[in-house]
């Protein structure tokens, strides 16, 4: 949970010596990294096209779209809560941005701004409902999930007449916004999407917040033992509302990416993606019960998921069995991770 593992007080006879490698392997992220490496090596061997530079770009892009959301979802899980509305909130954010710009004939940046405010409000709603009603987050965000799904469809049909939005590609500010949220550039023969930068940035910020700020301390405490945290003066309620707003913020980024990369938004999308985010966080070592996990872990989890789901395609395995392979690979990667960690811990 901390970046610097201070060497133990020199010469305490109660401490068995431990090599650096072993200490490294004991860290949660590094366990997951071993799993990721194994998946990478595996697909490099079985899938010819997996190791190409262009494939790497595709895999990284797929991982980044999950990873951007997995970061705040991991933080939220460390803080002891869930967000089932995270998937559709991405779509809501994109819809708001697109429909506002179109209907008001406003500069796309205005739509983007309105969407930011509205999405943050949705996150705040989740958080405030949670701390006010003291209902489990599963119920609250399930309610928001269903309501947003309905609103996405109902409002889009009401406003656009169909289930998708109108194109805003020809509106003012579109190219600049596209550069920010959905551009891509080529390094050598690898085509990299800007989402990868967003992803790396978010992981870095989240890691800093978790390990080096008061807020990070509060997140761990709120998830690890909310009663104790409250008793020693941690603003648990504010922390949780903040976490939901962080999820909303990242949903906004993802939503804008969706909008500016496809220009038109389908109102029915995003359903089910919330689980991909949770999966990435859990594979990366977050505890379902809260109080433990890391942002880097969530990134590794997203990468494992991205590699596996695309690797199966590159390996050209029978698509009927896609889900089977996906499940088996994820399970094996996680088992390997746990096995490595146990070995590291067992040998003193």
């Amino acid at each position: 949970m901390s970046v610097l593992t201070r060497p133990a007080a020199a010469g305490d006879e109660r401490l068995a010596p431990r090599s650096l490698t072993r200490r490294m392997l004991g860290r949660p992220e590094l366990g997951a990294v071993v799993g990721a490496a194994a998946v990478f090596v595996f697909f490099s061997v079985v899938a010819d096209s997996f190791l190409q530079a262009s494939s790497l770009g595709t895999v990284l892009y797929a991982s980044s779209t999950i990873g951007i959301m997995a970061v705040p979802v991991a933080l939220l899980m460390i803080g002891g809560e869930f967000d089932l509305s995270a998937g559709v909130m991405v779509t809501s954010s994109a819809l708001i941005s697109s429909m506002f710009s179109y209907q008001m004939t406003a500069n796309t940046w205005v739509g983007v701004g309105v969407s930011l405010v509205a999405t943050l409000a949705l996150g705040a709603f989740n958080g405030i409902m949670l701390v006010r009603t003291k209902l489990p987050s599963f119920i609250i965000t399930l309610g928001t999930f269903l309501m947003l799904t309905g609103l996405n469809l109902g409002l889009t049909k009401l406003i656009s007449g169909t289930v998708s939005t109108k194109s805003i590609a020809d509106m003012q500010g579109f190219p600049a916004a596209r550069d920010l949220f959905a551009s891509h550039w080529t390094i050598g023969s690898v085509d990299l999407q800007v989402t990868i930068l967003w992803w790396i940035g978010l992981v870095a910020v989240a890691t800093w917040v978790l390990l080096r700020t008061r807020a990070g301390n509060w997140i761990f405490a709120a998830g690890g033992n909310a009663d104790a945290a409250r008793a020693v003066g941690v603003p648990v309620a504010r922390t949780k509302v903040g976490l939901y707003m962080a999820v909303a913020f990242c949903a906004w980024i993802s939503g804008q990416h969706l909008l500016f990369s496809f220009d038109v938004v389908q109102s029915g999308e995003g359903v089910g993606n919330e689980f991909l985010y949770i999966i990435a966080a859990v594979i990366g070592g977050c505890l379902m019960t809260g109080g433990y996990g890391s942002a880097i872990g969530s990134a590794v989890g997203a990468f494992i998921f991205g590699m596996t789901s695309k690797g199966i395609v590159y390996a050209q395995w029978n698509p009927d069995w896609f889900k089977f392979f996906l499940g088996a690979m994820l399970l094996l990667a996680t088992l390997l991770n746990v096995w490595v960690r146990r070995r590291a811990e067992a040998s003193e």
Binding site: S49, Y61, E269
Partner: protein, 310 residues
């Protein structure tokens, strides 16, 4: 089933093993669709494609995702694999625009199938094979009128699915009576049944139910019976059960768009293009439907549906 799908498939495999009907190189063609997992319709499309692939000495790759951005990523993955031809559906055209453009840039010929006839040409595809969902919907509306229906119910088994919306909207556009929609949870048959049941109980004036997928027609028939309604059940697409029930008269009519043909022709046309530079349709979409099938066609259809090719 004397002409079982398994046997046909085995025969196709045998053909491939014996060296195929042609001696062109062993090209790889990929198909990327917007289907969900385990969909009957897309299963038949795949069967057609496989049959053609076996004949044409093609390696056939299939992948699918019902999320637009995921489907685009799958197209990219196919490009990464340097396939020799690409077949995509354009249910969410805007999401696919970039991906299709990249395929063209990489020199991969693209054929679009099923949905997206308007955009196909614009995106630079060789040709489009299939039937527009709206056109199919229109046909249903007209047929309902022909049968003097007043109040129809359109069952959408996947909320927010563009193709489904277009089918219902198309039917609504040509139907002169009133048409309601009902969303059901397509992965939960008992829920489909009870929801249709509830709708029929709440509004006795409904005299026809249109399901958007073949498996849901039988369930709708069950719900009708439970609700004590006399509404006619009609459906998009075919399967063995629908064919039987058409024959029994449990189902009024079905709209077929010949999915087998969409898969088969797509592969075949890509082969022709690579082999001989041929294209079909003269810049216009090649339509595979809609075809209204009723009790009269049921007998012939029964054996085809049983082996999974219609």
């Amino acid at each position: 089933s004397s002409t079982g799908g398994k046997r046909a498939e085995d025969r196709a495999k045998q053909l491939a093993a014996n060296g195929s009907a042609v001696n062109t190189p062993h090209w790889t063609f990929a198909m990327v669709t917007h289907s969900g997992a385990g969909d009957t319709f897309w299963d038949i499309v795949q069967s057609g494609a496989k049959q053609a692939a076996a004949k044409d000495n093609i390696k056939f790759l299939y992948s699918n995702s019902d999320q637009g951005d995921q489907q685009a990523q799958l197209v990219q993955a196919a490009i990464d694999q340097h396939v020799d031809g690409l077949i995509v559906t354009l249910a969410k055209p805007d999401a696919m625009k970039d991906a299709v453009a990249r395929a063209e840039k990489a020199g991969i010929p693209v054929i679009t199938i099923n949905s997206g006839s308007e955009d196909s040409k614009k995106f630079g595809a060789l040709t489009h094979i299939g039937q527009d969902e709206t056109v199919a919907g229109n046909a249903v509306g007209e047929e309902l009128d022909k049968r003097h229906k007043q109040h129809a119910l359109c069952i959408l088994h996947e909320q927010g699915n563009v193709g489904h919306e277009q089918r219902c909207a198309g039917a609504k556009a040509t139907f002169s009576g009133r048409m309601d929609s009902l969303y059901v949870n397509g992965t939960n048959m008992p829920d489909v049944q009870s929801a249709i049941q509830a709708k029929l109980q709440s509004d006795k004036s409904i005299d026809s139910v249109v399901t958007l997928g073949a498996p849901f027609a039988a369930t709708a028939a069950k719900a009708r019976q439970q609700a004590g309604s006399s509404a006619e059940i009609d459906t998009f697409d075919l399967n063995a059960q629908v064919a039987t029930e058409l024959k029994d008269g449990t189902i009024g009519f079905a709209v077929d768009q010949q999915p087998y043909l969409q898969g088969y022709e797509a592969i075949d046309l890509l082969w022709l293009y690579r082999y001989n530079g041929d294209t079909l349709g003269g810049g216009k979409p090649v339509l595979t439907g809609p075809q209204i099938v009723t009790k009269d066609d049921a007998d012939a259809l029964l054996s085809y549906t049983k082996r999974g090719t219609r």
